[in-house]
């Protein structure tokens, strides 16, 4: 019997040990999952035990704020110091109000990390009161919404720029309609006004088409018919389609049998946009040369103008990236070129020419086989 008891105790003891081990293991697993969920969701959490005045931050919250657990004392004041100065008052007022009302709060605010970078957070929190209605605990979460805010800003800028570009020809069309309706014009002035009206209507149409093309390229719905194309023919066709360019200022050095994988209409458009860009912002002399390198055809479009100012380099291929520097273009030419090159399975890059000027380098895939398609 004694043996039974011993056995039973031993059994029970082992059972308890096994049970507490289970709980500990499960707790550790939940804790690790919790941290993983926070990391994936880019969501940090914090808790302030008011009575003991202890503030606890989750690991992800430290990461979001760009501070190290060992080097940063998580207090309310230290948190406020990391809030962007322009948002600090709003954040503090909202939290103080929630505290006074024993209520919850939600806001978006910027933070200024110790490394100088700015991020956006969505914060929510709740004040918990004890049975006497006294606040005893604050709990909150912060979600990193920097990427979303950047996209929203990009969209706002894009709409503002697109609106600006559309308003300019609209202003001329509006003036033209008034002038032509007034009936007080000489025949010559009437002809001039009609020409201006036609030009600006064409510009408006081209711009709206380009905006739609850009959207289609970004969505991946722009149709491209990839085929083997003779590069030199397409570059010459593009040069002919740019009426403002003096042929004497353009040098084309491309082997007659060099082929690239691209869409015929869009390939011409790539070179029209690059030649117009070189003419408006670079120039006066432009050369287009190409050679085969392994499985690629590398094309350099070089001009001897002033080159791209450093300030604009980071948005050179962004929609409306250079439109503010003057010129009559829509500011979408290089954005379209970059997206078309991607659609061809190639790419475009920029580097300054020496001693001055610009080099736009296009890399095309080489078509399978050596049978150039003479379509179009």
């Amino acid at each position: 019997m004694g043996g039974d008891v011993t056995d039973d105790q031993s059994h029970t003891g082992q059972g308890i040990q096994a049970g507490s081990g289970d709980v500990a293991a499960r707790f550790a697993r939940v804790e690790s999952q919790f941290a993983e969920v926070q990391r994936l969701a880019q969501l940090g959490s914090w808790e302030w035990d008011i009575r003991s005045n202890v503030v606890t931050w989750s690991d992800e919250l430290y990461r979001i704020y760009g501070v190290e657990p060992g080097e940063f004392e998580a207090t309310y004041e230290a948190f406020l110091d990391l809030v962007h100065p322009d948002d600090r008052e709003m954040v503090n007022d909202t939290v103080q109000r929630a505290y006074a009302d024993r209520a919850s709060y939600a806001f978006d605010h910027r933070l200024l990390r110790p490394d100088g970078s700015v991020g956006w957070l969505h914060g929510r929190g709740n004040v918990q009161a004890d049975e006497h209605g006294e606040p005893e605990r604050l709990f909150g979460v912060a979600i990193d919404i920097t990427t979303r805010k950047r996209s929203e800003q990009f969209l706002r800028d894009f709409i503002a720029n697109a609106s600006h570009e559309l308003r300019t020809p609209a202003a001329a069309i509006s003036q033209a309609s008034h002038v032509l309706a007034s009936g007080a014009l000489s025949a010559d002035d009437r002809a001039l006004a009609m020409e201006a009206l036609t030009r600006q209507a064409d510009r408006l149409r081209d711009l709206s088409t380009t905006l739609l093309d850009l959207a289609a390229l970004d969505e991946g719905t722009h149709p491209v018919m990839l085929g083997a194309l003779l590069l030199a023919d397409r570059v010459r066709a593009a040069a002919t389609a740019c009426p403002g360019i003096d042929p004497a200022t353009l040098t084309i050095d491309i082997g007659a049998d060099l082929t690239v994988l691209a869409d015929p209409t869009d390939l011409e458009r790539v070179f029209v946009n690059l030649l117009v860009n070189a003419h408006e912002h670079g120039g006066p002399n432009v050369s287009v040369s190409a050679h085969r390198r392994g499985a690629e055809v590398v094309v350099d479009v070089v001009d001897d103008g002033p080159g791209v100012p450093d300030d604009y380099l980071h948005r050179l291929f962004a929609p409306f990236g250079r439109s503010r520097t003057g010129g009559q273009g829509s500011g979408l030419g290089l954005a379209i070129v970059q997206r078309l090159m991607t659609a061809f399975g190639g790419n475009i890059s920029y580097r300054p020419a020496m001693p001055n000027g610009s080099v736009f380098t296009l890399r095309f895939a080489v078509p399978h086989g050596d049978d150039p398609d003479h379509r179009g």
Binding site: S163, R167, A172, I173, Q175, A196
Partner: protein, 117 residues
């Protein structure tokens, strides 16, 4: 008859403004850049100033000048209260967002030419 200086880099819009204001019996001077505009400025009774010019920003140009007795009406395709307030702050008497109607343009011009007369 008043002399109006149009500083606008968009050639078609400049032409159409000229034809339109000439119909209102104004003499017109034209410039496509800020620098050319400054050279003609002393001859003008009123200036129509585009904000985005190839060589300068119209508002920067205004800020670089001593206080003006010649009324300056700024124009730009930028919409919004910010730009309108900046134009007034820079010394312009009015701001017109492109596209503007003929009535908006002539009303604005007449307001300031009457005052100057």
């Amino acid at each position: 008859m008043a002399t109006i200086l149009i500083i606008e880099d968009e050639a078609d819009l400049r032409l159409l403004l000229r034809l339109s204001l000439r119909g209102e019996d104004h003499a017109i001077l034209e410039a496509a850049t800020g620098a050319d505009g400054l050279a003609l400025w002393p001859l003008a009774d009123l200036v129509l100033l585009d904000i985005r010019l190839p060589d300068t920003n119209g508002l920067d140009l205004m800020r670089s000048l001593p206080p003006q007795t010649t009324p300056v009406i700024a124009m730009s395709a930028h919409a919004g209260n910010d730009i309108s307030a900046s134009a007034i702050e820079a010394g312009c008497v009015e701001y017109l967002t492109k596209p503007f109607t003929q009535t908006q343009l002539t009303d604005a011009i007449n307001r300031y030419l009457d005052r100057g007369a």
